[in-house]
């Protein structure tokens, strides 16, 4: 029996897994504070509280299985960090990945490190207002005493593993995605600056880094001495948990959509805007963020005073092509593969005969179209990587049959979903199982549930629709200013 702890941004999730799949799952929500526009912070002590609550719920759901936990595996958000003293006391609020307070620090950090492109090539991660390096400079300038009192700079997962085991540790997936490490896995001094000594030591993602101490074990209701595997960053775990391979990327539907895939070698995808970091088991992780997914539907829900579920039902009644309505999903700027921060979302082709269902369908189609455009550039045509042959869906949207149908018709690829959409936890369970020699495969932990194969007829009907939509997207990008 494996217990997984996922220290996410909106919630902490605890999962109980065995070799036939997920036994129980519980989540406890976290509060994010925005003290100033663009800031995003959390109270690090809330991570522990949320963990205790979620653990208690899982224990209540499956008390017998919970008693049999043999190993604990962890995962969590990347690029978010807390500062802590040597005794484990945190200093101030944690700064989340979505915090972009450090806009004016980007340029001086880039200058120090040889320019934006060099940073990108060296680290695989773009340097921008949300980068850890820029935020470190911001802290040095604005809260120097907080930095100087710190002994550790830790991700939420690493802080919690420390509390569980007494060991300070991280892994290469978490570390390299911070943008502070180079391709060989060494910290880049020009980016980290004086904070080099605050970085946690690196361990393999499938290694036990310590055992549960008595006090935290008692708080969580687990056996003291249970081994704890460090695991990997949430995206790296998702890729494992969704069964993604170099030619079968993971497509996740969250607030935004994301395409991620493992790669045996460090691919040259600089022009596509894809981000590179270390993979959990070997090689590299390639990921590209698409503009919006859940956020577009939530926005439509908000402006129309309806609900996402009713919007999806209405969208199903609208035919492919949304009766001529075309959307672009760039509510927060156009990300992969366009990278145009100034572009914004829109709808065209509206007539009085159209209603909300057509807009909702156009929104879903627009997200699928951006993913198809991404797959074209990531699927090997640019740098000789393998062509994409199937897609592994995860995230909330994978439960939506309309999303699966539209995406597979637009991309002309089959779409696979697994028993649990909790791909990050599944991946953490897989790594934990390896750390104690159980070596469970992802097909055992999270078996395939469905495969959507695009029908020739829908592929044909979407061909013209895609062409028209691309033309409109391009026209709108040319008009953005």
């Amino acid at each position: 029996m494996i217990l997984t702890l996922d220290f996410g941004t909106t919630a902490t999730k605890v999962g109980l897994w065995r070799n036939e799949g997920l036994v129980a799952l519980a989540r406890s929500e976290l509060r994010t504070v925005h003290r100033h526009p663009g800031w995003a912070e959390q109270d690090p002590s809330s991570w522990w509280t949320a963990l205790v609550i979620a653990c208690a719920e899982v224990r209540a759901k499956a008390p017998e299985a919970f008693r049999e936990v043999e190993v604990v595996g962890a995962t969590g958000a990347r690029q978010s960090f807390a500062l802590a003293t040597g005794s484990g006391e945190t200093l101030g609020p944690a700064v989340l990945w979505s915090d972009c307070r450090a806009g004016s620090e980007v340029e001086p950090v880039a200058r120090r490190a040889g320019g934006l492109t060099r940073v990108r090539v060296k680290t695989g991660v773009p340097l921008d207002a949300s980068s850890v390096a820029a935020k470190l400079m911001w802290l040095e300038e604005n809260e120097p005493s907080r930095i100087s009192a710190s002994d550790w700079l830790l991700s939420p997962r690493d802080l919690m593993v420390w509390r569980l085991t007494g060991e300070v540790a991280t892994d290469a997936t978490m570390a390299t995605r911070s943008g502070l490490y180079d391709e060989s896995g060494e910290p880049v001094e020009e980016l980290v600056g004086r904070e080099l000594e605050l970085l946690a030591p690196l361990f393999p993602s499938d290694e036990v880094v310590g055992r549960l101490r008595a006090v935290p074990a008692a708080e969580l209701g687990l056996r003291p001495g249970t081994p704890v595997a460090i695991g990997a960053g949430d995206r790296a775990c998702e890729v494992l948990g969704s069964g993604a391979t170099p030619d079968a990327p993971m497509i996740s539907w969250g607030t935004t959509a994301n395409i991620s895939m493992p790669a045996a070698r460090r691919r040259d995808l600089l022009d596509t805007g894809a981000v590179l970091s270390r993979g959990a088991l070997q090689g590299w992780l390639v990921e590209a963020g698409v503009s919006s997914a859940g956020s577009f539907m939530n926005w439509l829900e908000r402006i129309s005073n309806s609900s996402v579920s009713s919007l999806v039902e209405m969208a199903k009644l609208s035919p492919p092509g949304a009766r001529g309505v075309v959307a672009v999903p760039w509510l927060d700027g156009a990300r992969s593969p366009w990278w145009r921060g100034d572009a914004r979302a829109g709808f065209v082709g509206l007539s009085s005969a159209h209603g909300l269902g057509d807009l909702a369908r156009a929104a879903i189609e627009s997200i699928a179209l951006d993913i198809a455009a991404c797959l074209e550039v990531m699927g090997g045509s640019t740098d000789g990587g393998p062509p994409v042959r199937t897609m592994n869906l995860c995230g909330a949207g994978s439960a939506n049959s309309l999303w699966r149908d539209v995406l597979s018709a637009v991309t002309q690829l089959p779409a696979v979903t697994r028993a649990s959409g909790e791909a990050a936890s599944a991946g953490a369970a897989m790594l934990a199982s390896r750390s104690v020699g159980m070596n469970l495969s992802i097909d055992e932990l999270n078996p395939i549930k469905s495969e959507t194969v695009p029908e020739d007829q829908s592929i044909d009907s979407y061909k013209g629709i895609c062409e028209r939509s691309r033309l409109i997207s391009q026209t709108l990008l040319n008009l953005s200013f």
Binding site: I303, S304, N305, S306, F347, G349, L350, S351, S352, L479
Partner: protein, 456 residues
């Protein structure tokens, strides 16, 4: 001379009627709503019996029930063009086609803009009427009559299907040189006797059965609205915010502007340049419906920079593009926006349409005189003021079409000697000034509005 007259206005979504005294004070009002049917994007129709026959009769009956004084006269006004086919009892056997329905446009032979100085001919006239007749002949060859909505309504009140010369002036080549164009009508397959009786504008046809109430040929809503709006100074922009937005810029000299219509003003030495646009309540109500809005939001949202841009061509656009294939679109959407700013964007779009018509005309606007149901919405009118950069004066009686029709009835009865006197009924309701804090943001949006449209 004094007496009560009634104006009846068949609009896109309701029939409105008012009874007024000598000074234009409203003594009674009624409103009978009807459905607008849009089975497809390029169609716009009424159930002609509900909206054109029963609606006016009920609205008139509701007025009669409210007042004890005798009614001296009545005029029916409505939009142009429209058409249906009727049987020998005057019952419609076809749907009532309205302006912009493609079943007219498809069959219309490219109309030659025709202008005869001093006549009531319209420059840049609408081709739909002829197309509508072709459609009617195909659909119902045995019709007793092919009537406009004014004719059906007048028939329902009086037993006579009559329209005035203002309506015929909007029917392009079908009615030329003061009479029905028999050659053209016969070439279409219809007969002149199938068309309504034509009565000179402002003249009485007869009296309603069993009463002394005179009635006139049915007239044009926008024309009636215009005579009582008080928009008579050069630079006045009359904007009627009905289902359709009708914009007329008042000027002294006859000018021809590509895409715009030029018509004589009823006031001496004035002409009007402009025309109808689809950026009226049909568009705004659709957007509100999408947002499930009641239209009761604050006058202005907080942040002038966060408003999206609408191109309001849900049903194509009439003036100045005359392109039924255009479609609406919504741009510059971001994650922070709520429904209030998207609604505000819809209001601004109608203001941008007015501003672009003004720019195209080369004339300088001094103020917007707003009438029609939309003029009662303070959020809409303040957005129009901001978007156009002009103050908006709303008329005190928003049922401008019905009010002007009631004045037409006074003329027919002989209570009034000159249409110019109708300006004494013009009263300002509210005044909305452009908000200087919004001007920079609105200016940028207007530039983007022009850059985006119309063809997106």
């Amino acid at each position: 001379m004094g007496g009560v007259t009634v104006g009846v206005d068949i609009g896109t979504t309701s029939v409105k009627a008012i009874a007024v005294d000598d000074d234009g004070n409203v003594l009674a009002r009624s409103r009978i709503p009807h459905k607008i049917l849009t089975p497809a994007a390029d169609r716009l129709e009424h159930d002609a019996n509900a909206a054109w026959r029963r609606g006016p009769r009920r609205a008139y009956a509701a007025i009669k029930a409210q007042i004890s004084a005798p009614i001296a006269g009545v005029t029916v006004a409505s939009m142009v063009p429209s058409l249906t086919g009727v049987d020998r009892r005057g019952i419609a056997r076809l749907p009532g086609l309205l302006y912009g329905d493609a079943r007219g446009a498809d069959r219309a032979v490219e109309a030659t803009p025709l202008k005869v100085e001093g006549s009531s001919h319209v420059s840049g006239g609408m081709p739909d009427a002829e197309g509508f007749l072709r459609w009617g002949v195909e659909e119902f060859p045995d019709a007793t009559g092919f009537w406009t909505c004014q004719a059906l309504a007048t028939h329902s009140l009086s037993g006579v299907a009559a329209i005035d010369t203002a309506v015929t002036a909007s029917m392009g080549e079908l009615h030329t040189w003061g009479q029905w164009n028999a050659e053209l009508i016969e070439s279409i397959g219809a007969r002149v006797d199938q068309l309504p009786e034509v009565i000179p504008m402002l003249e009485a046809v007869g009296t309603l059965p069993g009463s002394d109430t005179v009635f006139t040929g049915g007239s044009i809503d926008a024309l009636c609205d215009q005579v009582v709006s008080g928009a008579i100074e050069p630079g006045d922009v009359l904007a009627i915010f009905g289902a359709t937005l009708v914009v007329w810029i008042v000027t002294k000299d006859w000018i021809e502007v590509p895409g715009l219509m030029t018509v004589p003003h009823t006031y001496p030495d004035r002409v009007m340049v402009g025309g109808p646009s689809n950026a009226g309540a049909l568009f705004v109500d659709w957007a509100r419906g999408l947002l499930r809005s009641t239209g009761s939001s604050d006058v202005r949202p907080k942040d002038p920079d966060r408003v999206p841009i609408w191109l309001p061509y849900l049903r194509g656009e009439r003036t100045p593009f005359n392109d039924p294939t255009l479609r609406a679109s919504l741009h510059a959407l971001d994650i922070t926006q709520g429904s209030a700013v998207i609604e505000r964007g819809a209001y601004e779009a109608s203001g941008f349409v007015i501003r672009r018509l003004l720019e195209r005309s080369g004339l300088e606007g001094r103020r917007i005189v707003a009438s029609g149901g939309g003029s009662r919405s303070s959020s809409w009118m303040s957005a129009v003021a901001d978007a156009s950069g002009l103050p908006v004066n709303t008329v005190a009686t928003p049922e401008g079409g019905a009010l002007g029709a009631a004045f037409f009835a006074r003329m027919a009865k002989g209570f009034e000697g000159s249409l110019d006197d109708a300006t004494r009924w013009a009263r300002t309701g509210e005044i909305y000034e452009p908000d200087p804090r919004w001007s920079t943001a609105v200016e940028e949006r207007y530039e983007r509005f022009k850059e985006l449209g119309p063809k997106l």
